[in-house]
């Protein structure tokens, strides 16, 4: 009984701040629109139909592509890092984890603006390269696809490293020793023992990077110079500029469903315990 009592505040919280808003979005997404963008409570599937136009499918495709790229990049950079941290002594480990978490204490927007300062034509990187004579003209670093990718990897890397690290650090070392005793070379120990056992961490890391990456609009606006439209930008535009909350809600719903499907698939693989086919 007591336990149930304790869960009441969380239940209310979830109801008010998670479930109710999602329901409101779901309802809006099926509503019609007046000339001034007011919500008219008349059923229509038009908002979803609109999303199937090639231009919006194109935006979806690009967002997924970019988010996948940044997830992969985070994985390639993050996995070795997580291994290094997991294999260090406790003292070093804490310092390294701390160093990873520390930048998160600074506001996300501020960190992205800082990259603008670094990447600008007269920014720190270009000035330095010109100073040491590698280049004569500033490189076009800011406002490019790669700048957006960099911003995503930089901002989301800790979300990949930390879950993998936490799984690796709890890894039962006797399994690794057993594999070694049975004569497996290091690469085989890694591929057949360590990596499969760390998959839950990899999967939760991948989800935690993919989700914010597919929905961001700040990074593409600031570092991409508004030259790329991602799903996040599209939704933001529908709510703030186009006065089309209905369409914006429909896109949000589509995104929620997409993420649910991804999570469903990944948890299935996770359950089967295999999962190398994931990549």
């Amino acid at each position: 009984m007591k336990k149930q009592w304790l869960s009441v505040p969380y239940g209310i919280w979830a109801l008010v701040f998670s479930i109710a808003p999602i329901l409101i979005i779901a309802v809006y997404s099926f509503c019609s629109r007046s000339a001034y963008g007011n919500i008219i409570y008349e059923f229509t599937a038009e908002n979803y139909g609109k999303f199937l136009e090639p231009i919006y499918i194109n935006v979806l495709w690009r967002s997924v592509l970019l988010a996948t790229q940044s997830t992969l990049a985070c994985f390639i950079l993050g996995y070795p890092m997580a291994m290094i941290i997991a294999k260090s002594t406790i003292k070093k480990r804490n310092i390294m984890v701390m160093l990873f978490v520390l930048p998160l204490w600074t506001n996300f927007l501020l960190r992205t603006y800082a990259w603008m300062v670094l990447l600008r034509d007269q920014g720190v990187i270009n000035q330095f390269l010109i100073y040491i004579g590698i280049i004569d003209e500033p490189l076009k670093l800011l406002y490019s696809h790669n700048a957006v990718l960099l911003g995503m990897v930089y901002n989301f890397l800790p979300f990949m490293v930390l879950p993998i690290y936490s799984v690796l650090s709890k890894l039962d070392n006797s399994l690794v020793e057993a594999a070694e005793d049975l004569g497996a070379p290091p690469w085989q120990v890694f591929l057949k023992v360590i990596f499969p056992l760390s998959l839950p961490g990899v999967i939760s890391g991948a989800i935690m990077v993919f989700m914010p990456a597919v929905s961001t609009f700040v990074i593409s606006d600031l570092l991409g110079g508004g030259q790329t439209v991602l799903l996040g930008n599209l939704i933001q535009n529908q709510f703030l500029v186009a006065r089309n909350w209905q369409f914006g809600s429909a896109i949000s719903m589509i995104m929620i469903i997409m993420i649910l499907i991804t999570m469903g698939i990944t948890s299935k693989y996770q359950g089967e315990g295999g999962g190398r086919q994931l990549w």
């Binding site: 001034y36 007011n38 110079g225 508004g226 186009a242 089309n244």
Partner: protein, 350 residues
Amino acid sequence: MKKIISILMIGLLILSLAACGKGETNEQGYYNKLNVYNWGDYIDPQVLEDFEEEYGIKVNYENYANNEEMLAKIQAGGTEYDVIFPSEYMVEAMIKQGLLLALDMNNLPNMKNIGEQFKNLPYDPDNKYSVPYFWGTMGIIYNTKKVEGQVDSWNILWDEKYKGDILMLDSSRDTIGIALKRLGYSLNTRSLEELERAKVELMNQKPLVKAYEVDAYKDMMIAGEAAMALTWSGDAMLLVEENPDLAYVIPKEGTNLWFDAMAIPTTSQHKREAELFIDYMLRPEVAAKCAEYVMYATPNEAAKALLSEDVIEDELAYPKGDIMEKGEVFIDLGEFTTEYDRVWTEIKAK
């Protein structure tokens, strides 16, 4: 236990309600609180203090960053804003949605200070709902060290020579608007054909564009990192002050004229005090103070007479001649807004 908690909760609620503080009528017979909702940094704070002192009305001053944010708050209700400062297209949209209260001109004797050419504009034909506060143009700000020759046309934004050196505004109406103007169309067009032609022009221009932006472009122009940018006259004045190499021009094909106005939303419970405030803002010396502080062009002729010669002679701020010939005011497009949004997404997603 349950009872005690609920009693405590009720007590808290009552306390928090009381803390909000109901205003009351003051000695001069005015309600002693006024909620003003304005753009950030868009008024001389001294003016507010003087108003409070003169009428014994406390001004609650809040800021917004764009029209849509303000609209959302008014639409959501639960607020009691008395005076707002929407831009012209937003005035029109709010009138059509019935979100503004009609003004009583008898309470606004200082309306006479507003220049005739700024009255009865298409967004509010009889000035029934709004009073202009500041106005300006849209144009090109360019770096005289990077751009050769005379700039007088929108065509320069399509010049291959400046590839990667051109900054455009990340604002669909504005950027599509100048493409339409360049083609000789109205920037309020509702013709799909004209809109599609503007789209093709902007798609062709995209490889030359460094970024679509509304904020950081100012830094870049000051630092000399780009040759030119599409900008509003208000920002242009600040930029020229920061970097004397910069110059602002209103292209000959014509441009957009913008207005920010004062209006009373339906959320207001104290229209009389709101009108008192608007009339106060229309006083020559008050309007002049704000114009000096914000550095935008005032439509208040009596206030303009109080400004220094340099400011009035600056064609950047106060272009000579009939301004209505140079520019067109945005009209709210209603249903057609979604077409502009679609075209804008197509351009940016190319």
